[in-house]
Structure formats: structure tokens, C-alpha cells
Symmetry: C3
Subunit: 271 residues, 3 copies
Amino acid sequence: MELLESIIECLRRIRERKPLIHNITNFVVMNETANAILCIGALPIMSHAAEEVQEMVGIANCLVLNIGTLSPDWIDAMIAAGKAANKKGIPIVLDPVGAGATRLRTESCRRLLSELRISSVRGNLAEVAALVGIASEVRGVESIAAADSPERVAQALAETYGCTAAVTGATDIVCDGSRLARISNGHPLLGKVVGTGCMSTAIVGAFAAVEPDPFTASAAALTAFGIAGELAATVSGDRPGTFHVELYNALYALSEDHVRSAAKIEIANVG
Amino acid sequence: MELLESIIECLRRIRERKPLIHNITNFVVMNETANAILCIGALPIMSHAAEEVQEMVGIANCLVLNIGTLSPDWIDAMIAAGKAANKKGIPIVLDPVGAGATRLRTESCRRLLSELRISSVRGNLAEVAALVGIASEVRGVESIAAADSPERVAQALAETYGCTAAVTGATDIVCDGSRLARISNGHPLLGKVVGTGCMSTAIVGAFAAVEPDPFTASAAALTAFGIAGELAATVSGDRPGTFHVELYNALYALSEDHVRSAAKIEIANVG
Amino acid sequence: MELLESIIECLRRIRERKPLIHNITNFVVMNETANAILCIGALPIMSHAAEEVQEMVGIANCLVLNIGTLSPDWIDAMIAAGKAANKKGIPIVLDPVGAGATRLRTESCRRLLSELRISSVRGNLAEVAALVGIASEVRGVESIAAADSPERVAQALAETYGCTAAVTGATDIVCDGSRLARISNGHPLLGKVVGTGCMSTAIVGAFAAVEPDPFTASAAALTAFGIAGELAATVSGDRPGTFHVELYNALYALSEDHVRSAAKIEIANVG
């Protein structure tokens, strides 16, 4: 399977090149996403000041934008950093945390998607649905319901903004408008630790830094992250605190063998 | 014992209803309090932008305010969110982190208590004493001394602001002006991990979201949290890093049986 | 060996006096550095509001400044807090996170070093080189290369700003212009957990709060921290998530015996 080889190749490149992932992200998960990036083999930097984000983008290999605890000045910094990233030609990955919960979140994401060329978006069903005007309910940052399927929501976002859309849940859906991947890796305990969604977005960033095709990078990253979750749960049992610790261990230890034996991906063409 | 049944009923409701707890809290514990809320069975959201807090309150079941790394604009957002919470009729829980250490902290708390109807306050002895003008010494966020007993300090706050006051320490005291609870659950290792006080406040928020009587909610929450601390220490031994991890495991695993066998509460009438 | 006795004496004083360490630090490591300070036996406070930093310094025993997620208003608060610390006569420890990566970081550090009397600086090779104009490459917060040796970089900073300079890496170098220490404690896993550099700076702060000689405080602290890293790795094996947890356990458990049996320090006079 071609994507399986891509996962392995991406992991190899990340660990060899140590790409720098510039994150403008939320206060809740800054440490956790930085550790996820470091454990997979890349280097994280967190930087949000308007006075330095363009310069930081200049040495970065990918920009990850996450609106989890947004305020207007941080969105402005995201726009400035994003324009520099577009100019430089490095990928931008967006996590629309809580889109649909408030107008500020929904509209800020739409502004980012309109003013920047964003390669990949990673969110839950309700968040991504909100971005394309499909009715949904998000309770804080938790997806409760949406009026359409993850496949159609992902496709709608991909078509509207010309990006790769990843809608994560029990099955992760990745769609770039023409290709669609269904990834069945992952574990329910990922829903019992704060910030695992944000971590998965950060891992998409690490993969996007070494893989120019956003569809491949997103699908490969989410498969790898899902497998790490499965490995962690094997050790932790049903204990979320321990699972959190083991998730870092698993990201760090993730090997070609793990990927070959555990990956559960289906790829299809779409209309 | 009536409160014992309330703890069990609150836990059942939290896990069934998954109430949304809106936190405007400090940078140090955002991740930790969010994980505590998630582990007990509720849903956390961290949101502080003036542009969205009123709307976020609109979908929340409780508002938790914590001044641990306050700045004036965050206090303004707390006031705006608090007014929306009062209008909507959801409870507000306040953690006066470091009150008494600086004028900004003491006065910001008094402003919150004056301009908002706050259901419950949870702090250490020196912090709560500072709010009612009883001489105390707080070293950063650590209670060193106070000129009166926890019982009288709690009662003074309850009477001054018409709220439920929880003063936590070796024994936790909860008082609403007419009733007083003494809770002897907990473990010394809770003092060796940063943010366990803030976590206990967040857990009060989760209980307040499903139990309309603030006295019952506060006493039930602190008992549950103290029992979780005892369970965690059983596994961790005298290792604070491990204890921190086990505390999440214990909050997640906390069962009716744990509560029935471990709760140590006395209730009395006052004044 | 004299420094060995100083480490033990510092640990004893920290645990007896519980000095308050006031941190103005970055969002990524606030929780982690606070826990490191608490585990070694001191008390942490995080406070950044211009409205309260001077008052907080008034009850603190040391001020730690860390520019990891700086913005101009935070630098202003650092200056205000630093002037209060200088006036009161308590030590200031600086962590120049990411200096060299952006002009804002390099220039902010130089401003802090020029406007304040800073006792100790703790950074990696590229960061410290950037502060004294020696060519270096920093990828985000990771030291990639520098045009001179750690010994000469540390000495240059010490001489330029009249402070103690600590350049950490495989071997830690501490220099105050006349004395130079080489510390061979530590473990490669410290490079696999985000914020261990910031933690080591916070531990320098705890030692500086009880030891008036900045050279002794810095060298003693970095030796103690390195030994804690070694102890943690003994338990964790090659698992960074577990190592992170064990690092807190090791800081908490660090004893005279550990220090006596593990310390690897050489001291020399310099030109």
C-alpha cells in the first residue's frame, strides 16, 4: 500500500531532518503539542509576538495555527505569520478548535482560510462542519453532532477552500477534493486526555514539513498518531493519566514495524 | 449520611450529562484543570477573550474564575463572563489564587465578589482570610499563617458575600453561613504538585454544574477530590511526579464504592 | 571537594527555608518549571502583570526571567520586576530562550542584561553565543552550532555583563570570569522533554535564593539537576514521557547520598 510506505518515509525524514515546526497555538496545549512534536522527532517552537513571527517563519519548515484560546491580537499574528509562510512556500496547518462554539472562533477560522493558503485543516466533525456552514453542535471543543457525514463535511471543506481536510473521530477522514482516506487507527482514551486533537494537528505539521503532498502528509500523520495511541493504550490500560504519559513514549518509539503491522487505511477517489 | 449520597449522585449526573465547564483561569494550570474536569466526567472549555466569553457562557453549565496569573484585561473578561453567567443563572466558582500576596489579587477578587453573584469560593486559609480582611501571610500561593481558624475565616467570607466558602488544608472547611462541613479526606502529596488547589476548584465547578445547592456541591466535590488524592497516593508512594499522573487516573476511576468506603465528613450547624 | 559540600548545603537550605521564586516565564513551561521548583523544595509563583510584579518581588527571594514566548509588554514587566529585585538585593536569573533565532529575542535579552544587574544566565551554546555576538545557529530553541567553544562563550558573556554564565550541553560550563566549572552530569533524555532547560534555570533560581555567590549557586544547581536527570533515566529507560514524570520524582528525592556518589565537577581558574 502506497500510503503505508509514505508513513515510514515521512517518519524517516522527520527524524533525519528535524524540521522546525512553528506553532501559534493555545495556552492549554502548548507544552503537550511541543512534546508531541519533539517525541516524533521534529523540533517545536512556540512564538506569537507580531514583532517576531515573520522572522521565526523564516527559519521554520511548517506553520501550525491553533485557535484554542484565541484573542484578536493572536489572530492578527497568525495572519502575519501565515502570509510570511505563504511567501516562503512552507505549509500551513490549521486546527479550528471550538469553531462553531462562538462566532469569534468560526469567523476567525474563515478569515484565516480566506486570507491565507492553508494546506491542511484538522478538526472534529462539528468544528469542520461549522466552517462550511453545515449545521453542527460543539460543546466547548467536543463534537456533539453534525447534519452531514464526516466524508461529506471533509469534502465540502476541501472544495470550498482548496485544502486538505481531516475530520477526526472514531474513523478519521482525510479528503483533498479528489482523494479520500479512511483511517481506523486510534483509541477511545485519546478522547480522555486534553489536547490529543491538538497534538494530532501538530503531528500533521511535522509530516507536512517533510512531505509536499498535503493529502499524503495528513493521512500519514493521523495514521501514525492513531497507531501511537493504540500502543500507548496497550501499556496504560484504562487509565487516562498513564495513557497521556505513554502516548509520548509511543510517539518516540514508533517504528516501521509498528506502522506495517497496525496501519488501517482505505483510500478511495471521490466525485 | 446525606452528603455521601449527594457525592454519588453528583458523580452519576456529571458522567451522564457531561456538563460544560467554562474556565477563565491561569496559564500555569490550564491543561491540568482541563484534564481534571475531563477525568471526572465533565467537559472543559478554556476561553478568555472579551469578544467571546458571553457567548461561551451561553452554552456552559458553570463558570470557573481563577486569578492565578491575572492581568487587568483578564479580570474585565471575568466580569463580562460572570455577568452573563448570573443572567443565565449558572453557578460561578472563584479561586482567589494568591489573594493577600498583592493588592491586585486581593482587590480583583473583592471586585469579582462585589460585582458578581458568586456561588462558591475555594481557597487556602491565607487567601480566604485576605478576602475578609483577617490578617494572614501568603508566600506566593502558599498559605503560611492566618489570624483566625479556618472555620471562622470560612464563615466570615460566607457571611460577607452570601456565598459558600471552602477553605482547604489538612482538613477542608466548607461553610455557607448556616451549615459547616469538615472534610478529612486528602493527602499531603496534593501539596507537592502544582495546581491541585486549582484542580479542586475546577472539580467544585463540575459538581456545581449538576447540584444546585452550592454548599452540597462544594462539600461533595472536595470530598471526592480528597478521596481521589488518597487513591492516587496508594499507587504512587512518595513520588510527586507519579502522584500527579495517578491523580488523573483516580479521578477517572472514582466509584461509588470508593466514596462509600473512604468519605470522612462531619456536618454541623453554625451561628 | 568544596562545591560538592555547597550542593548539599544549598539543598538543605532550600528545603528548610522554602524560598519563594518569582518567575516571569513562558507559557510552554509555566507548569513544568513551577513543579520543578516545588519538587526541589522551594515555592514557585508565576506573576507577570505590570500592576503587581514589583509587589510580588517584595516577598520573593529570587527572580527568574525567561523569554521563551516573549512579547514586548512582558519584557516591560520583566524590566519593572528586575529593577525592584535589584533595589531589594535579590538575585535575578535569566534564561535567553531562543536568543539568536529572532532579533526580538536577542535584543530583549541584551536590554535585560543592560538595564538590570543579572546574577546568572543559563542558556544553550547558540543562545549564549548570540548574546555576545559570536556567530551561532539556533533552530527555534535548539542549539545547532556556534563559532566558539562553550568555555569561551561562557567567559565572553561573564566578562561582557559581569555575571555568571552557564552554557549547558553534554558538558555544562559555568563561568564568572575568574572561575570555570565543568559539570558532566546529565542525561541525553533531558533533550527529549520540552522545558528541561527552563527547569534547570528555575533550579538555578532556587539555589541562588539561598546561596549568595552566583557561581556556586549556578554550578551547584546544574550539578543537582543533572544528577536528578541521571536518576530519572535509571527508572525510565529510553521513554521520554516516563522520564519527564521520573524527573520530578528524582528532584523531590534528591539526597546528600545521591549528590556525593554522582557529582562530576571540575573547577579551574581562568585567564
